[in-house]
Structures are given as C-alpha cells and as structure tokens.
Symmetry: C2
Subunit: 455 residues, 2 copies
C-alpha cells in the first residue's frame, strides 16, 4: 500500500504532504537538534479522520508519530521509523465550558496559552503552568507536564477528567469521566496521561478548572548557600503557608541571565535564591507570607523581599531566561530529573562534580518545592564526537545517582527518544515488561510512536 493513498482518506491536498515535500520543522522537536524522516505528514481536523488514518496505518503496518505543537524537549515528536506524522494542531477548538460542574471540554490541539486566556476571561483558572505556553494540551497530557504551580496545585494529570482516544487499531475509547469521583473499574485514563502517544491518539479532552485566585504575590529570599535554602522548604510547607511555587537558582547563573535580559533582581546579596509565589485572597496571601518570613529568617535567610508587581515581573523574567541566557546559540542537553526535595543539595553538588570530571559546563535550577531539577549540559565549542561521548557518560552518572536517591529520570518533560536509553537502564525489567505488555493491548501492531519511552 502506498502512502499516497492517504489522499483518498483526507481529500484536501493541503493536509496530506508526502515525502520530500514535508517541511523540516515537522521532522524534529522543540530543540531542533535531531531530525527524523517520514513518508507522510497529515493534518487531521476531527476524530473520524484520526480513526481513518489509524485504521489505514494499522492495516498497512505504517508507523505513526503523533505531533502537537512540536515543542517537546525529548525527541518524542521525531519520526524515527519513517511512516506518518499525525499532526493534531488543527484540532484546536474549545468545545464546551461547563460552569456548573467546573470543567471544560476541548480538542487536543488547543494551546496552553489559549486555554489559560479563555478560562481566565471567565474568571476561572487552569492551574498547570508548564514553561512552554505555545505547547498543546494534548502534548501536556501526553507528557504529564508539570510547571511552576505544581507545589500548590499539582500537575496536568490532576486536571484531566475524561479523554477520548483512538487506540492503535482505530477503536475510539472514552476513559475517565466527567464526574469528580470515580471508583468504577480500572483507571484507564491515568494510563493514557503521560504515555507520550504510545497507547493512543488523544482526540478530545475534559479538564477540571477551578475559580481564579483573587491575587498573586512573589517573594525573593537570598541565602548564603543552596543547602540552607533547601532546608527551609519542608519548614515552609509545614508552616501551612501554602506557596504556589518554590523555585531555586544560584547566583552564578542568575548573573548571566540578568545581563541577558538587562534586568536586576531586587536583592543581590545571595549565593542562592528561593523565589516563591503565593496566590489567593489578599489577607490569606499576607498571612502566608508572614508565616514564611518567620520560618526562613529563623533558618538562615539573608533577607526576605516581598516583591511589587514590577519586581516580580523582573524576577520571573530572569528566572525564565536562566537556560536561554546560556544556551542561546549554544547546543544544550536539557534534563529534568526529579528527586526527593531533601536530596536537591546533594544532587546538584554531584552534578557540579560530574560536570568538572567530564569537562562539561553544567547549569541547574528548578522547582525546589517538588524536587524537579532542570540541568543543562552546555556544549560551547566542544567537538561533536567528543561532546556526544562526554555527555553520554555524564548523563549515565546523573541518572544513576538520581536513582540511588529514589529519584526518577523525568519529572515533567517525559522520556521520549533522547532519555529512553537512560530510562530503561534505571527502570526495573519487570516494570518495563508490564509497560510493553500494556502497549501490546492498546497497539497490537506496534505502530504508535515506536522507539520512544519504553517501546
């Protein structure tokens, strides 16, 4: 069977692109470092088209690589076995906002920023807040994306109520429910969340939304060293001060980022910083900030700055540019290891030593409130093979160490293509076997995003 027959399924020549006519950007991910090859790129517009494409692919054993906005950082959207790229970005309609039951039903190609804007215009709130606002919600669900607000609000998984998916043989299945509680049979919904397109194509999504918090205030806390800062985190949380976000960053990369965006943090006397946000009613925020102030001042903080709107915007702009200030025009390998919170200082110390040992510049920062650390290895001018060999050794050691700390390879980006090798090394064989057997149920002919994560 020929890929050109796809034109009989989707009778719109602008939506079926064959072979060499596929633009390069569809063959890669958000890093644009590695490129795959594919036989066809198909833009679908509804569930029926997805069913027809998947049936055709399944009958003809054609690999299918699903794709949202292509912003992922793990190669999950790179076609490695040729076949069909199934682009869902045109399925981007908001279908229904149910204000009585506080949920919203959308298509998978809706962008995070568009969803956030839409619900906020209705005085509602979609709490998950991954850094990449131009990512699709289908992609966010596929990687169980996290983001800044996870400390208070949880991650994408916690907001997915119901999913319509098309499995590997073209069967439409609805998993989860629109109800708030569910103790009715096996939880198929959470199997799909975080499955990175290996079990089915997400075609419809119902998400939980909550009322929009009245206000939001950030505070910046400098410390002599990161360890003193991290030691405060469980104390802050146990003080019941309910922070929305707790980020950490060290001075060396802060200075770089300050120059890059031409802004300054409102205090510069720390070697390490915690940047927190509190949201809710104004009284509640004040009370929570006071509790936090007391905790950190009694536990080694050098200062405590409640930020005004402009200062908060500057601090978060600096925080947001930490990686790009160093990685701009410079190849990087970004990873997002997650460890128990109290292991953050030991893990970053190990990361530093490891970088030195292998002669690679490493930077790190991240979500201190949930142990999710963003490490980037920076290439600078290293020769290509040397770079590949050294980063391979470095990553092996980092993943091994995080595993010793009861950590995991990915807290929010997913495994995709680039972490598969390391994920399989630190994951027990029996767990991988269960995952592969489950894939075999949803995708018997092994066509969906193969060569990724565990398969």
């Amino acid at each position: 069977m020929e890929y050109s027959q796809l034109k009989n399924i989707i009778k719109d020549e602008n939506r079926v692109i064959l072979g060499e006519h596929i633009e390069k950007e569809y063959l890669t991910d958000g890093l644009a470092l590695e490129y795959g090859e594919a036989d066809a790129l198909v833009f679908v517009k509804n569930t029926n088209e997805v069913v027809n494409i998947i049936r055709f692919a399944n009958e003809n054993l054609m690999p299918v690589t699903p794709r949202g906005a292509g912003t992922c950082l793990t190669g999950a959207s790179i076609p490695t076995k040729r076949g069909i790229i199934l682009d869902l970005s045109k399925m981007n309609n908001i279908l229904e906002l149910d204000e009585e039951n506080l949920n919203i039903t959308i298509e998978p190609g809706v962008l995070l920023k568009d969803l956030q804007d839409y619900v906020e215009s209705k005085k509602l709130f979609y709490p998950p807040d991954p850094g990449e606002k131009a990512s699709t919600i289908g992609g966010n669900i596929s990687t169980n994306a996290g983001g800044m607000r996870a400390v208070k609000y949880g991650v994408t998984r916690d907001y997915v109520r119901e999913l319509e998916i098309v499995s590997g043989d073209g069967t439409i299945i609805t998993v989860g429910s629109k109800t708030i509680k569910n103790s009715s049979g096996l939880d198929l919904k959470d199997l799909i969340v975080g499955s990175e397109g290996t079990l089915g194509i997400i075609t419809k999504i119902t998400l939980k939304v909550i009322p929009k918090p009245a206000a939001s205030v950030s505070v910046l806390i400098p410390f002599d060293n990161l360890k003193t800062g991290v030691n405060c985190i469980s104390k802050i949380i146990k003080s019941n001060s309910n922070p929305t976000a707790i980020e950490f960053m060290e001075n060396n990369i802060v200075e770089n980022s300050e120059k890059f965006v031409d802004l300054k943090l409102p205090c510069n006397n720390g070697n390490a910083y915690l940047l927190l946000t509190f949201d809710g009613e104004e009284d509640e925020i004040s009370a929570n900030i006071n509790k936090t102030r007391e905790v950190v001042i009694n536990n080694g903080a050098l200062d405590f700055r409640e930020l005004n709107e402009e200062e908060a915007l500057n601090a978060w702009t600096i925080r947001g540019a930490l990686a790009s200030s160093i990685c701009q025009n410079n190849e990087q390998v970004p990873i997002d290891i997650v460890v128990p919170i109290d292991k953050i200082p030991q893990f970053v110390e190990f990361t530093n030593e490891c970088g030195k040992k292998h002669g690679i510049q490493v930077i790190y920062f991240g979500h201190a409130g949930d142990g999710n650390i963003h490490v980037s290895a920076i290439r600078n001018s290293m020769e290509s093979n040397e770079w590949k060999q050294r980063t391979h050794k470095l990553l092996n050691e980092l993943y091994k160490k995080s595993n010793e700390f009861n950590g995991l390879p990915s807290g929010e980006h997913g495994i995709g293509l680039t972490k598969k090798e390391y994920f399989e090394k630190v994951t027990k064989d029996e767990n991988l076997e269960y995952m592969r057997n489950i894939k075999n149920i949803f995708d018997k002919n092994n066509i969906l995003n193969i060569g990724k994560v565990y398969c």
Copy 2:
C-alpha cells in the same frame, strides 16, 4: 495439590485455617448479608509470605480473595470461587515517616483511624476521610475510597505515591515513586489504585501527607428544597471560599436520625440542608465562611448557622447516623452513584419516583460537593424473593439513569461483587475488554479476586 500444604509455607498453625474451621466473619463483607465459601484462610505477616502464597496459588490455580478489615459494602471481600482468603490485617506496621519530604510508608493492614491518629500526633494530616475509620489503608487504596473531605483535598488516589505489589505470579513490583512529580513511563501505580485486588496484592504503601490545618469550623444551611441548595454549590465553589466538605440531606431522614441519636440540629426550619466544613487558619476560615454566607443568603438559603464545637459534633453525628438510623435491624442495599453536581436534584427526584414505582423505601443523602450520592434501598418486611426482584429492577433503572447523566456506578465504594452486573451493563464493551486484557497481564492464570468488578 492440597490446601493443607499452605501449612508448609506459613509454619504457624494460628495463621493457616482450613475449610470448616474458618470463622463465618471471614466469608463476608461489612454488610454481612452474603457469605461465600473458602478452602483456606491465611494471615500473612510480610511480603515474602505473600509471594510464597501467591506462587503456590498460581501454580495450583487456586483462587485468592484478598482481605483487609472486611468493611467493604460491595462484596469485594467475599470468596465466590472457594480457594484462599489472604488476610493482610496483620501487616499493620507504620514503617517510616519522612518529615522532610512529607510522606509516610506503611503496611497495607494499617487502619485508617490509626494512620490518622499517628500523623496528627506529628502535626501532619492524611486528608482522605472515608466514613469507615476501621477500614485498612490497603482497602482504601483498592477501592480508591473518597469520604467527606474530597471537595477540598481529593480522594485516596491523590495521596498514593508508591506501592509495592505482588502480582498474580508472585512477582514483586514497585509502582509510582517517592518523588512528587513523575513523567517517567506508563503510570502503573494508578492502575493498581481502585483495582479492588484484581491485579495484585498491595504489600507496602507510601502516602503523601500534608501539614495539619490549624482549625476547622462547620456551618449548617437550611433550604426550602434540595434544588435550591444544590444550585448554590457551584456558586460557593466559584466564590473561592474553598470548603473542605459539602454534604446534603433532606428533612425526612434527618428527623429519623435525630430521634435515633437523641440529638437535634441547631436549626430545623429547612426541608433540605447543606452541611459544610471549612478548615485552615482561623482568619482564612472566617473569610471563607463570610463569602459562603453572602452567596447562599442571596441564593435562597433560609438561614446560615455557624456551628460551635458542640453543635458541629451533633450535626455530624446526625449526618453520620442517617443510614444506620433507618437500616438498623433492617436489610439495605447501599449504593454510591456519582453524577455531575448539577444533576443531583434530578437524580434524587428520579430515585424517589423509582422507589415509589417499585414499592421500595429509598433514602438518600451524600457528598453534594462532588456529586457522590448515597442511596439505600430499605427492605423493611418485604418477602425475600420479592425484595430481590424489586431491588434488581430498581437498581437497573438507577444505574441506567445515572449513566444518561454522565454519571458512574461508584464514586467511592468500588464495584465488587454486588454491582458487577450493573457496572458491566453501563460500561462500554471496549472498556471492559481493555480492563480484562490488563488483568491478563498482571494475573495470567486468573486467580486474583475473580468474579469481581469486570472479571
């Protein structure tokens, strides 16, 4: 192979009970209405013993019915195919409280009340609060138990970080992780939560805990009718007043319960009531109560009573005795259908009509904040066959209607044995097929809690 050989595996005669020596209470569930039969009852004390028993059962194709405290209301703990009752109630040690990372590791037989007491003594809090405090946490996880505080805090699933399980062939698998975030491969953990013992035996549990709220205040709100009360719920939630619990009850059963416990609600001018709790800091509670007062007074509430400690205790005692005041010495069929919140009034109206049509007394009350409705059909003096036939018709209609409302058969009790028929009727064939195929991966020889839920 003989069941007596179990005595070679567990060399303690008090922990292996054979055939007719098994006490009757181990052959039933919390309702003690239906009884099964079994060949052996084994009390296990550690994971190794579970592995050895499961391997023996698997090799000899002996059915295994796992059991915690036996408090379930769905027959999930009733052995229907003879075989081995695997009692985990003696695996009841608290293993480790990690105060830095706010999690606790326990054995599955720890009782809910013991866990709650233990963490509260450390100024921490385990939010899920199912009504039956003498249930085991292993059981709570197996049914994804809910309870009163789900509106603010979620259900059992939301607090399970990591599980050690023994699957149907005796393999030990650790699923989930001690980290807060996890985007590393398929989510096997949530497949186990709510699986009612059909996929594996839970042998070790790590739960998330949170800081203990400083205070808790309840309010009672009478309405002319239930519909007016339910119409307030989304408005209360959208006012950002963050209630912990929102329960509803109607006057006819309240009066019964008041007589039964010899207490009175502090106001009695309603035909229907909402009973709410708020927790947190005192200022925060006051602010939230004020917001709620404004919402409900503007939307048809007849009164608004902030309860003092004694009044709150009385109101919750009356709420807690709603079912038992009528069901004491009277057979009942309890169900826990869940519907979208705005469908509660229509669903209870239908329940009333249906009860009348079939000549069966029905009572209902429940968790208004999450749409989880407890309905009990009461037998009174009805003849046995008549009762069975009529309740069967009644239940068929209730489950069908809840399905039309996008509801589900169970919000927190699980499906077990008694709801299996109805669950299978309202669940799509493809979903049941996926569940059965997944069971086949975890339990190839089909020995674990067979004849329950979907299998």
